[in-house]
């Protein structure tokens, strides 16, 4: 749940999400969930000349499983705090998170 909580602190900030299909989208983070699915508002495709496919889309939902990177503004992140929390998480991981879905 660490990164879920981390992304919640970034709601309202502008981020760039690079997907596994190489598409990169910049937008304001409006929502995140336990699967790290992301909702972005006011989006702009990074290479919009190459990807006119989303010209009419202003807001989108991105499935967490297809994200390669999320680029964040450095000023919005307290790296010391994050590092600390990650260290604690590594020593005693909380519940399996998204893996604990029963099918």
């Amino acid at each position: 749940m660490l990164f879920y909580s981390f992304f919640k602190t970034l709601i309202g900030h502008q981020v760039t999400v690079e997907l596994k299909n190489d598409l990169a989208i910049t937008g304001v983070l409006t929502s995140v969930d336990q699967f790290l699915n992301i909702k972005l508002d006011d989006i702009r495709v990074v290479d919009d000349a190459k990807y006119p496919h989303m010209m009419a889309v202003k807001n989108c939902f991105i499935r967490g499983s297809v994200v390669r990177y999320v680029q964040l503004p450095a000023s919005a992140v307290d790296t010391a705090l994050l590092q600390d929390a990650a260290r604690r998480e590594a020593q005693q991981p909380t519940t399996g998170g998204a893996h604990s879905i029963s099918r």
């Binding site: 299909n21 598409l23 889309v57 989108c60």
Partner: protein, 96 residues
């Protein structure tokens, strides 16, 4: 929760894991992002010709195959001349 409820009954554009673009009315979804689209069509992009529309009807798209769901702005979409767009198809997600 990154809710899709806000998109229900709106026209959405879905990009699938194999790089297809499917546009339709979102009727339902579940936790795994399986999605029901009514009245949908696929927009086939090509570098040599304009966008081709292929009518599909009522579809369930399994969540595994969904990359992105975009809220289609009808006004902006109406102002785009699809026959003039030339673009390479979107990559699939397993490009390595």
């Amino acid at each position: 929760m990154a809710e899709l409820q806000k998109f229900v009954d709106l026209t959405v554009e879905i990009i699938t894991s194999d790089g297809r673009v499917i546009v339709g009315l979102l009727k339902g979804f579940d936790q795994t992002i399986n999605v029901i689209l009514s009245n949908c069509h696929e927009r086939v992009y090509s570098e040599n010709e304009g966008v081709e529309k292929m009518s599909l009807g009522l579809y369930i798209i399994r969540g595994d195959n969904i990359v992105l769901i975009g809220e289609l702005d009808q006004e902006r979409d109406a102002s785009i001349n699809l026959s003039e767009i030339r673009a390479a198809p979107i990559n699939d997600i397993t490009r390595r």
